[in-house]
């Protein structure tokens, strides 16, 4: 375990750990939940976890590039949410439910 993950006794390690935990929660949310809105929220959670990680590393290496990249990710996340929610609204209007298993016309 020690060779796996060099334990930094500084503050940067804490942010790393937090970011990983948030990311994993996000992934599990995407896999497990049935409500489309919750899945979108989990995706957002993953994106934000990555943002946190990037800021942390940028601070660690004193390199502003990481924070610049965070802006890009935020823009992309906003655009993606727009489109995703628009699709969600249409799906709800057509099928009356936000369960992810409603659109199953393509048979296996």
């Amino acid at each position: 375990m020690n060779s796996f993950l060099p334990e930094l006794t500084n503050v940067y390690f804490n942010y790393l750990l937090l970011s990983s935990v948030l990311f994993c929660i996000g992934v599990i949310g995407v896999i497990i939940r049935k409500n489309i809105i919750i899945i979108f929220m989990s995706i957002e959670l993953m994106l934000n976890a990555v943002n946190l990680l990037l800021v942390n590393f940028s601070n660690m290496h004193n390199d502003p590039n990481g924070q610049v990249f965070v802006f890009f990710i935020m823009v992309v996340a906003a655009a993606e949410v727009t489109v995703g929610l628009a699709i969600l609204v249409m799906v709800y209007r057509n099928s009356g439910s936000v369960n992810i298993d409603t659109l199953k016309n393509l048979k296996g």
């Binding site: 995407v30 896999i31 992810i100 016309n105 393509l106 296996g108």
Partner: protein, 640 residues
């Protein structure tokens, strides 16, 4: 004029192209004009070159046309070698070719394939000219293949008749079997000498191979393989069966291709390569054996045939056997002399037979002819001259050439001379049998045919007369010293044929030669009298009921059942192998393999279809899992 020699094959080539493209639009007159005119032009150029060559010093001239193949160390140029041998062959080809073209313009009148016929004939002349004019083995081979192709096209000319197509295929396939031997010989030549050019090979050969060390394996191999090609092209045992079947083509085709030119290609090739053959006496012995065997074998079959063209076909095979017989004895110039005289009298007889068939409204069976000499006088007289020539009666052409062959045979061994004389006896007998059955006696055909009997028009009789004159006087080109002549042909060909390094020439004393000549003429006269007694006086006609033949006649009539033998030995196993290949390799293995690929694709599709079940949560799960797997691999397992 020699610089214009490339016009000689070019004119018929232009004729071929014009005629093949205008096949539907040209009238008979235009087609005949183009076809005959191109050959006449070639003949005139050849004749002028020949005359100027005669007055010169008989040195060979190489005319380069263009660089043909150059790849690495191989440099083959498309060039012609004009020397005494090639010029004489060119004279024969264009001269007799022109006569036959003229004859055909009348014989093929009314045929719907008239233009196509002349285009094929012109193509044949081009190929044959290339064969004899080439200065290296590759140009010769190009012409060799070309004449084989034209033979196929012309034999199967009336293609709506299936047996004719089979005969054409048979000719082409048997030619190709010989060509395989020829190609292997060419490959060995290249490996040994590094070049295909005649002059380079023939000057290098005595240097590479010590003249005292004859019969080296490589020389035997080369000469034997080339000879195999000659057996296919020139119809010797065992590849001769296509020639009698080739009589399915129009008669002028038989005259040109199967009497005067194509079948002599093998002999030309061996004369051209005489330097190589003189170094391999074993091959020469084999050639002698096969030659005399073919001569006698074919002559015996010709004794009982009833179709006039078949008799002439077997006679051709037999005479070709004599030419190879002469080649094997080392008498190259004699073989060429016989090629020339044979071209004259055999073309004459084939054209005469065509005239008879034309008069008999297409009938070819001699049992239905008879007494035609009254209605077809010119045909009769010219045909008789041809028959006298082939029988070897002086002063006709055949006497000089055949006698030279027999003398060369006697100088090696009296037994060979005896066999040659035996073949000559058979030849005389069956040729005069033909004459007596066709032209003497009572007419045995239908009354319709009797009404149609008429002498042929001038376009057919004038070539007959010219060839008859050549058959009469052509022999004087090679009068031997013993009779006071200077054997002009022998000295003319001296620049091509190497007499010093050749097999030792046996000289017979004059008394022996006179005896031999008297013997052959005497024997021929006796056979003529016997034939006259049987067919002229007793007026025996071969029975029309073939079941009545006695056993020897049946054997000969059915050509010793050789065709049936080849069928069992080669054709049927080949068909069986072909069926086997089709049912097992084609249907099971190859089809199976291709079908398996298709089935595999389908199966894969079925298996992968499960992945698309429409459930989005399933897709998400797979995405996550896939990404995780990829990242794990990249981080932990793929380390450079």
């Amino acid at each position: 004029m020699i610089n214009f020699i490339w016009l000689v094959p070019l004119l018929p080539l232009i004729g071929f192209l014009l005629l093949s493209f205008g096949s539907r639009k040209f009238s008979e007159g235009i087609s005949a004009l183009i076809g005959c005119g191109s050959i006449l032009g070639s003949f005139i150029i050849t004749a002028v070159t020949f005359v100027s060559f005669l007055s010169g010093d008989h040195a060979a001239v190489k005319v380069d046309c263009f660089d043909w193949i150059s790849a690495g160390t191989i440099n083959i140029s498309f060039s012609f070698l004009i020397d005494s041998l090639s010029l004489m062959m060119m004279m024969i080809i264009t001269g007799i070719g022109f006569l036959i073209h003229l004859y055909s313009s009348s014989y093929m009148h009314g045929d719907e394939g008239f233009t196509r016929y002349f285009s094929y004939l012109n193509l044949f002349i081009v190929s044959m000219l290339l064969l004899v004019m080439g200065s290296n083995y590759v140009v010769m081979f190009a012409g060799w293949e070309g004449v084989g192709l034209c033979s196929y096209l012309l034999i199967g000319f009336w293609f709506k008749n299936d047996p004719y197509n089979d005969a054409a295929k048979k000719a082409f396939i048997m030619n190709r079997i010989g060509d395989l031997g020829f190609l292997m010989g060419l490959a060995l030549i290249f490996k040994t000498f590094g070049t295909f050019d005649y002059q380079e090979i023939f000057t290098a050969a005595p240097q590479i191979f010590n003249p005292n060390n004859l019969d080296t394996t490589i020389m035997i191999a080369i000469t034997l393989l080339l000879f195999i090609g000659a057996t296919g092209k020139s119809a010797q045992i065992p590849l001769y069966t296509w020639l009698p079947d080739a009589m399915a083509g129009p008669t002028p085709v038989s005259a040109l291709i199967h009497a005067a030119t194509m079948v002599t290609a093998g002999i030309y090739m061996i004369i051209r390569s005489n330097v190589l053959y003189s170094m391999a006496p074993t091959t020469l012995a084999i050639i002698t054996g096969i030659g005399i065997a073919t001569a006698i074998f074919a002559a015996t079959i010709g004794l009982v045939q009833n179709d006039i063209k078949k008799v002439l076909a077997y006679s051709t095979v037999s005479q070709l056997g004599y030419m190879f017989f002469a080649l094997g004895l080392g008498a190259y110039n004699t073989a060429f002399f016989h090629v020339m005289t044979h071209a004259f009298f055999k073309a004459l007889m084939f054209l005469g037979a065509g005239s008879v068939i034309h008069a008999m409204s297409g009938e070819q069976d001699m049992r239905f002819m008879g007494g035609l000499r009254k209605k077809l006088p010119i045909t009769f007289i010219t045909f008789l001259i041809g028959t006298l020539a082939i029988a070897g009666i002086p002063p006709f052409a055949g006497f000089f050439s055949k006698d030279e062959i027999l003398a060369a045979a006697y100088a090696q061994s009296p037994i060979l001379w005896g066999l040659g004389l035996l073949g000559a006896m058979f030849t005389t007998f069956y040729m005069f049998r033909l004459v007596f059955l066709t032209f003497f006696g009572e007419f045995r055909g239908t009354s319709d045919q009797a009404h149609h009997l008429h002498e042929s028009p001038w376009k057919m009789t004038v070539p007959l007369m010219i060839l008859a004159a050549l058959s009469t006087f052509g022999g004087f080109l090679g009068v031997p010293e013993v009779l006071g002549g200077s054997n002009w042909i022998k000295s003319f060909l001296g620049s091509v044929i190497n007499y010093e390094h050749g097999p030792v020439a046996h000289h017979l004393d004059h008394a022996t030669e006179y005896t031999l000549m008297a013997a052959s003429v005497g024997v021929a006269l006796v056979m003529i009298i016997i034939a006259w007694v049987v067919y002229g006086v007793k007026k025996q006609v071969p029975s029309r009921n073939e079941a009545e033949f006695n056993a020897p006649t049946k054997l000969l009539y059915n050509k010793y059942f050789i065709d049936e033998l080849y069928d069992i030995l080669f054709v049927k196993p080949f068909y069986y192998l072909s069926k086997l290949t089709h049912s097992i390799i084609e249907n099971k293995i190859i089809d199976g393999f291709v079908n398996a690929i298709g089935w595999l694709v389908g199966f894969g599709g079925q298996a992968l279809r499960v992945l698309q079940n429409g459930s989005v949560s399933f897709y998400l799960f797979l995405m996550v899992m896939g990404t995780t797997l990829l990242l794990t691999l990249v981080t932990y397992f793929i380390k450079n």
